[in-house]
C-alpha cells in the first residue's frame, strides 16, 4: 500500500492499534537529532463526548474521555520541515507527541516515513481483525426467523 491510498484521517486509528511503547520507541529513534518545536502547548486532560439522542436528535453531554494533544513543527538536520498534530484518547502527553511525530513524518515524507507506513499497515490489519471478530460475534448469534414464518405471518418493520 502506498501513502496515497491511506487518508490522513485514518492514520491515527491505525497507529493507536499498535502498543504505544512500541510506537514511541520508533518515533524516538527516527526523531534523534531533529529540532522539534511545539506549535501549541502539549496537554493532557479530558474531552467531552457530545451525542445526538436518536429519539429527538437533541444533543447532550454523555460523559468524558481522556485526551492528550500535541502539535509539533519539525526541522531535520537536512533542512526538511513538516508539521504534525494529534489528539489521542490517552492520558499521556508523550503518546500524543509520538502520534504527532508520526503525523508529521507521514504528511511531510520525512526520513523514516516508510517505517511509519509499515506501522500504519500493521495497525490497519489489527483493526481489521477486530472488525472481523465483532462480525463473527454477530454471525454466530444471528437469529434466523425463517422457521417462524411457517407458523404464521407477522408484519415486519416498514423499510426506511
Amino acid at each position: 500500500m502506498t501513502m496515497d491510498m491511506i487518508e490522513r484521517t485514518k492514520w491515527l486509528a491505525a497507529l493507536t492499534a499498535i502498543p504505544s511503547a512500541e510506537l514511541m520507541l520508533l518515533t524516538e529513534e527516527l526523531s534523534k537529532g531533529w529540532e522539534i518545536k511545539p506549535m501549541s502547548v502539549p496537554q493532557s486532560g479530558l474531552g467531552m463526548l457530545k451525542l445526538n439522542d436518536t429519539a429527538f436528535a437533541e444533543p447532550f453531554y454523555m460523559g468524558e474521555f481522556p485526551v492528550a494533544s500535541a502539535w509539533l513543527k519539525i526541522t531535520t538536520p537536512d533542512g526538511h520541515t513538516a508539521e504534525g498534530a494529534a489528539q489521542v484518547m490517552d492520558d499521556r502527553i508523550e503518546v500524543a507527541e509520538a502520534h504527532a511525530l508520526c503525523d508529521a513524518i507521514l504528511s511531510g515524507h520525512l526520513p523514516g516515513h516508510d517505517r511509519v507506513l509499515t506501522m500504519v499497515e500493521k495497525g490497519l490489519a489489527i483493526r481489521e481483525e477486530t472488525r472481523l471478530e465483532r462480525k463473527r460475534i454477530l454471525a454466530h448469534t444471528q437469529v434466523d426467523f425463517s422457521l417462524l414464518d411457517d407458523v404464521g405471518d407477522e408484519k415486519g418493520v416498514p423499510n426506511a
Binding site: S31, E35, I36, K37, P38, M39, S40, V41, P42, W71, L72, E97
Partner: protein
C-alpha cells in the same frame, strides 16, 4: 528534542500567577516579572499564565505574533466582548470593554496594557504621575507610567464608575508588572 519555553511550563506559570495575585493585592506596587520568555514578549508571559481554551482574547493593536495564538489557546474575540484584552498603552482606547452585570460583575474584561516604563519615579517628560488610594494601599502611593496615553485614565473612570461593575488592569513594561483593580482610585498629579 521538544523545547518548551519556560513561560509555558507549569512551575513557572505558578510563580507568575502568585506574582499576579500579589500585584492585584497591592495595587500600584511594581513587581519584576517572574519568567522572562526566551522567545516572545513580556506580555506573552503574563497571558500564558492567565489564558486557556475557556476564555477569549482581543488583540486590537496586533501585538501578538500569529504563532502565539495556538499556544495561548484562547478564542479570538472582539474587544467589546473579550474576557482579556491586550492593548498598546501608547494608543488611545477606542472600544468599551465588558464591565459585567450586577448579578455577575466578574463577567468583565481584564486589560493587559503594554507601556514603556513603570515605577515610583521615572525620568521622562511624558511620564504620567498618579496618586493611588484604595484597598491594598496603605493611605496612598505614587505610580509613574511612561508610554500610557492619558485618555486611558479618563475612560477608566467611566468604566469603574458603577462598582462592582468595572474592569481590572495589569500594566507591563519590559520587565515589570503592576496591577490596578477596579477598586483603586487614581488621581493624576
Amino acid at each position: 528534542m521538544l523545547k518548551l519555553d519556560p513561560i509555558w511550563q507549569p512551575d513557572s506559570q505558578q510563580k507568575q500567577f502568585r506574582l499576579l495575585l500579589e500585584a492585584m493585592s497591592r495595587p500600584g506596587e511594581c513587581y519584576a516579572i517572574a519568567t522572562i520568555p526566551e522567545d516572545g514578549s513580556v506580555a506573552l508571559s503574563v497571558l500564558a499564565t492567565l489564558l486557556d481554551a475557556e476564555v477569549s482574547l482581543a488583540d486590537p493593536d496586533d501585538l501578538l505574533r500569529i504563532e502565539d495564538w495556538p499556544m495561548l489557546q484562547a478564542k479570538p474575540e472582539l474587544s467589546e466582548q473579550a474576557d482579556y484584552i491586550l492593548c498598546d498603552g501608547a494608543h488611545p482606547p477606542d472600544f468599551i470593554p465588558k464591565i459585567g452585570t450586577l448579578a455577575c460583575p466578574e463577567q468583565s474584561a481584564t486589560l493587559l496594557l503594554v507601556v514603556e516604563e513603570l515605577g515610583q519615579a521615572i525620568n521622562s517628560q511624558s511620564a504620567l504621575k498618579m496618586k493611588l488610594t484604595g484597598p491594598g494601599i496603605a493611605a496612598s502611593s505614587i505610580l509613574s507610567i511612561s508610554g500610557l496615553n492619558p485618555e486611558w485614565l479618563s475612560v477608566r473612570e467611566d468604566w469603574i464608575d458603577s462598582f462592582p461593575l468595572g474592569v481590572d488592569w495589569i500594566l507591563v513594561d519590559k520587565a515589570r508588572i503592576t496591577a490596578l483593580p477596579r477598586t483603586t482610585k487614581v488621581e493624576l498629579l
